[in-house]
Subunit: 358 residues, 2 copies
């Protein structure tokens, strides 16, 4: 009987302790709100891929439910929903919050700013992550890169732009900061909901619009009604973002924190690559079906005027907002070095092949 | 007494079952062999970062020990060591195995080949991963991208290259396939161990050499003795690789498989970004300390001759090796579309800014 009793005690103690030794494998259920609808590729793929990685790497124990905007009904409410803890995280873009604080703006992209590799290097090696956290920390949130579109196109135009004069009175859909840059050059900037863009361009309500790049533009059909496709200047490396509620994050076991961070990072890099692929495929297909479409670059005087208009607005915001100033100056200093390397490496490589083929 | 007995039985059964319900959290100890020594940054950082991610994401249960070449003494033996299961995995580069099978060569980079984003898009979206596995599967191994150097420089030259004639008799250290391309244009190609490169260049045993790019070249000190730094042509997107023993991989629990794959992928993307950073910082520092160093691009007739020499060698290998042919044709088809997008997006963006500043 004594032996039985001892065995019972040992068994009891082990029964209590064994589950604790695996206490980290707790079930975690999170909710994520996207600014986008459920079919906006590749944005949605990025979120799904992140959630799948998290689930598989945690052995099915850390599950993130994804709500698209048709579910939560508040595309631009995701900031506050994560801040208040109604959602644990969101997938969105930082520049949507510039109305709250203009310091959010340069964490997405800036006109004439960094290219995608330059910008990732700034985030991960040049102090960008710490600056971003300085901004989001004030709102009880963590923020991470959420996928890059690569260099966005300048937009679809029904008329050719040959001079600064051609911008005067031009009716264009181009939202946000870039819209201000063009408004100061005489463009009549309008904001039209995505679902009405095609008809507006077709009927001449607008003369031009920008969307993303071939990979995402092709489904909108703009190539059927506008013959000039201008190269990019205003969103050279649009980075989406993951927002995470700080308190929810703090409660995660250490290994889930790492799993979440690594999955977000990988999914973000992957989106850049996926969109690169989508854009080269889509452009190839557009060119084949609509051989008359012309790739155009704005004339030098137009680019120079855009640069000046952009610089003037940046100076204005710098004066108004010290954190905006701090971020922009960090980016400017970083870009000075990294842009030189971009020219020496990929640019001169591409140029030398192009020149030799002439 | 009956109650005690029942309790004992319940406790005993639970004690047996609980550990099984967490059977996935098994301890796994792996060994990785690097081709490199322990201080070759950023290559070594990539491996350490991968192993750290794996360890943290597995809650300390999946640990990878890293052996540098000073430990295992066989930099180019890592292929066979992983194949035979002496190591579970390796960090190396695919083009080192072209002596075994030339199909290994284009899985690293090719002269006048894809840039880094183009190549990642080919690997992950354009069928590259499946082709790579076709080659490595024959050897009982899995292969994954292992970090990209970005566009490598054409090398350090003591004399300027103004014509094809200047290549004749030029003594240059440039190993592998690119060396063959130059040898066919009259260059005397030599292979000198890394430790002797500086002295060889200084004493004129060689007139030129290629290494990687500013980030890694700066420690070698070549900028102190060679005034011309030529832009790249022969390794536009050198991708390192992780090799994994198939049997060792098959034994991993599902969640460790995903943890390993995601960690390798993230670490690889990260190396591209880290080396981007290192190169822009290093070039900025070299330029400041040695203002007389000139960035040069080979003249058009030299580039054209290199392209022709490269094309002729590629045709020769295509005829000799059907798998090499299959991979090259996949890359050529992919590059045709993706290069056009590269020109339209980043290239014309950079060009338009550069032109506007003139």
């Amino acid at each position: 009987m004594k032996i039985l009793k001892s065995l019972f005690i040992i068994a009891f103690v082990v029964t209590i302790l064994v589950p604790f030794s695996h206490a980290e494998d707790q079930k975690v259920r999170w909710k994520l709100a996207m600014t986008w609808g459920p079919t906006l590729h590749p944005f949605v793929d990025t979120v799904e891929s992140m959630a799948n990685m998290v689930e598989t790497m945690s052995g099915g124990n850390f599950v993130i439910r994804i709500d698209a905007s048709n579910k939560h009904k508040s595309p631009f409410g995701v900031f506050d929903m994560v801040k208040l803890g109604q959602y644990d995280m969101a997938h969105t873009a930082s520049y949507y919050w510039k109305g709250k604080d203009v310091a959010f703006l340069p964490l997405t992209t800036m006109p004439f700013g960094m290219t995608t590799p330059e910008q990732y290097a700034w985030f991960y090696e040049g102090g960008g992550m710490a600056l971003m956290q300085e901004v989001y920390g004030q709102h009880g949130m963590l923020s991470y890169p959420g996928g890059n579109t690569g260099n966005q196109m300048g937009g679809w135009f029904r008329k050719e732009i040959n001079s600064l004069e051609d911008l005067k009175g031009l009716k264009m859909r181009i939202p946000g900061f870039a819209g201000q840059v063009l408004a100061n050059l005489g463009v009549t900037v309008t904001n039209i909901p995505p679902g009405e863009l095609y008809t507006s361009l077709e009927r001449g309500t607008i003369d031009a619009l920008e969307w993303v790049g071939p990979g995402m533009d092709i489904k909108m059909g703009f190539h059927k009604i506008a013959p000039y496709y201008y190269t990019g200047w205003h969103e050279p490396a649009t980075e989406l973002q993951f927002l995470v509620n700080q308190k929810a994050y703090d409660k995660l076991p250490e290994k889930y924190k790492e799993i979440l961070k690594v999955a977000m990072k990988t999914a973000s890099y992957d989106m850049y690559i996926e969109n690169y692929h989508m854009s080269s495929e889509a452009w190839s297909s557009i060119k084949e079906d609509y051989p008359n479409i012309k790739i155009k670059t704005f004339p030098e005087e137009v680019i120079s005027a855009m640069v000046d208009s952009n610089d003037a607005l940046v100076v204005q915001y710098k004066n108004e907002n010290p954190m905006f100033k701090k971020i922009i100056e960090s980016q400017e200093a970083y870009m000075k070095k990294s842009r030189e390397w971009t020219y020496i490496s990929d640019y001169l490589y591409l140029k030398s092949i192009s020149d030799a083929k002439k």
